[in-house]
């Protein structure tokens, strides 16, 4: 299989890029893919923390592009999955420590050994963004159902198109179906209407994400986590499998809802 470089981006900060990268990377590794995740948020590195790999960092991405170490010396192998690797960001430098050209060479180097290369993009549209998209052939845009997030996602899709990346998919993150039902939150159709790109998954708001992030264990490892389940389905879609997108997943127990539906059907 030809390897894919996928950049995970959003424009706005705090919508779940790093969480998405960690969960998709882990879920793809669970599907026996050889995966490397690159943290390009130089100066504000997070991905290692979310994955619980912070204490294993010796070299980072800046060391690699400057030739201070070999690429496979900087790659950290995940403690849970054989095929999952992380290339961490530097914490003491800033975004200008790497150029788009260097990023392109780096991702091309990684293509030799991996099936999927996930690039975790920093917030914003400056050099960090340009670095992250430089070597990518596909983009996943993460947006939450808020006007500000959708606005920034729209801007990012425009910039992706301008840089020649036409293959963009959307993840709607932190959707609260109860609020949508009440009409208090933008629904999926509202967002798709504005962004008009293909939807690859909807991740519900889920408290288990906070817990798993703090523990350094991605939510996809937990079978009970609803957000984790959504990420597992997105990973299957990324490998080419057809998995239907559930528009509104039931929140909570749902017994009453199910009963109501049966009554409706009976009428």
């Amino acid at each position: 299989m030809k390897s894919k470089v996928i950049v995970i981006t959003s424009g706005k900060g705090g919508v779940g890029k790093t969480t998405t990268t960690a969960n998709l990377g882990t879920a793809l590794a669970m599907l026996n893919q050889r995966v490397v995740m690159i943290d390009t948020d130089i100066g504000l590195r997070n991905l290692d923390v979310v994955l619980g790999l912070e204490n294993r960092i010796v070299f980072d991405i800046v060391d690699v592009v400057n030739g201070n170490c070999k690429l496979n010396q900087a790659l950290i192998r995940d403690k849970r999955f054989e095929g999952l690797h992380l290339l961490p960001a530097a914490q003491t430098k800033d975004k200008t420590a790497v150029t788009p050209h260097q990023m392109k060479n780096l991702t091309n180097e990684l293509r030799k050994d991996f099936d999927v290369i996930l690039v975790d993009c920093p917030a914003g549209i400056e050099q960090g963004f340009r670095n992250a998209v430089a070597g990518a052939d596909q983009a996943i845009v993460v947006a939450t159902p808020e006007v500000s997030s959708v606005r920034d996602a729209d801007r990012i899709i425009g910039l992706l198109e301008a840089s020649g990346l036409k293959d963009s998919h959307l993840i709607i993150n932190r959707l609260r179906s109860k609020m949508v039902k009440r009409g208090d939150m933008m629904d999926i159709d509202d967002i798709l209407d504005i962004l008009s790109i293909s939807l690859i998954g909807v991740v519900p708001e889920d408290e288990s994400i906070v817990v798993s992030t703090n523990r350094g264990e991605p939510a996809v490892l937990e079978n009970a986590s609803r957000a984790g389940g959504a990420y597992r389905r997105i990973a299957r879609r990324l490998t080419g499998e057809e998995v239907p997108i559930m528009a509104m997943e039931e929140e909570g127990g749902g017994i009453v809802d199910r009963f109501r539906k049966m009554l409706k059907l009976a009428r």
Binding site: R151, D152, D154, R155, I157, G158, L159, E161, D193, I194, S196
Partner: protein
């Protein structure tokens, strides 16, 4: 015989037995001058009995109302139906459209942060999203949803038109006039609309083609 009644936020004016259009217009002008001080911005329904108006006259009446701060809600007549003549070839809105030599056609969505400038007309087959800008010396026609900012007649042409399949802009500018949708209520239009300057104001109306 002329009567005027104000109920439920609407003004109802009845002008019967006006011999000719000029009599009718004069009668209406008198009424409006008396009423405009009390009921600014009111929707008006006018019943003209057996009179028959051409679509040009209907437009004149509409302008007359706008001059006095009223909006024409409905014009009722027992004569030949007004709608027919209004929809006729005479009322084709693009008749008065100013002519520009060059036209740019864009076949994609304009997204936040993207800006398009043209000295002539602009035709867009796609949406204009919030945060995107289109500035044209001439007219702007959007075969999609307008949610961003557009400026037609940017060099001062007050006859420039903006039309959109769905008109829901953050801001509309024609020549030196700047308008925005009213605060609070947001009405999602579900018909194609046209914006132009009439009686010194930017007005949005149903697009009749």
């Amino acid at each position: 015989m002329t009567t005027a009644a104000y109920t439920k936020g609407e003004l109802y004016i009845r002008i019967l037995n006006a011999g000719s259009y000029s009599e009718l217009e004069e009668e209406l002008r008198d009424r409006l001058e008396n009423l405009s001080a009390y009921l600014p911005g009111t929707l008006v329904k006018i019943d003209i009995g057996d009179q028959h108006l051409t679509s040009k006259q209907v437009r004149e009446i509409e302008d007359l109302l706008l001059d006095h701060g009223f909006y024409l809600q409905d014009l009722m007549s027992n004569g030949p139906p007004v709608e027919d003549s209004a929809a006729g070839a005479e009322e084709y809105p693009f008749d008065d459209m100013p002519y520009y030599n060059d036209t740019v056609m864009i076949c994609r969505h304009l997204r936040s942060g993207q800006k398009l400038f043209s000295e002539g007309n602009v035709v867009i087959l796609g949406d204009i999203n919030p945060g995107a800008e289109v500035i044209a010396g001439g007219n702007i026609m959007i075969l999609g949803s307008l949610r961003g900012m557009v400026h037609a007649g940017a060099f001062g042409d007050e006859t420039a038109l903006i039309s959109a399949y769905r008109m829901n802009p953050t801001q509309l500018r024609i020549a030196s006039h700047i308008t925005r949708p009213p605060d609070g209520e947001s009405v999602e239009p579900n018909i194609p609309e046209l914006a132009r300057i009439r009686a010194g104001k930017v007005v949005i109306e149903k697009l009749k083609i």
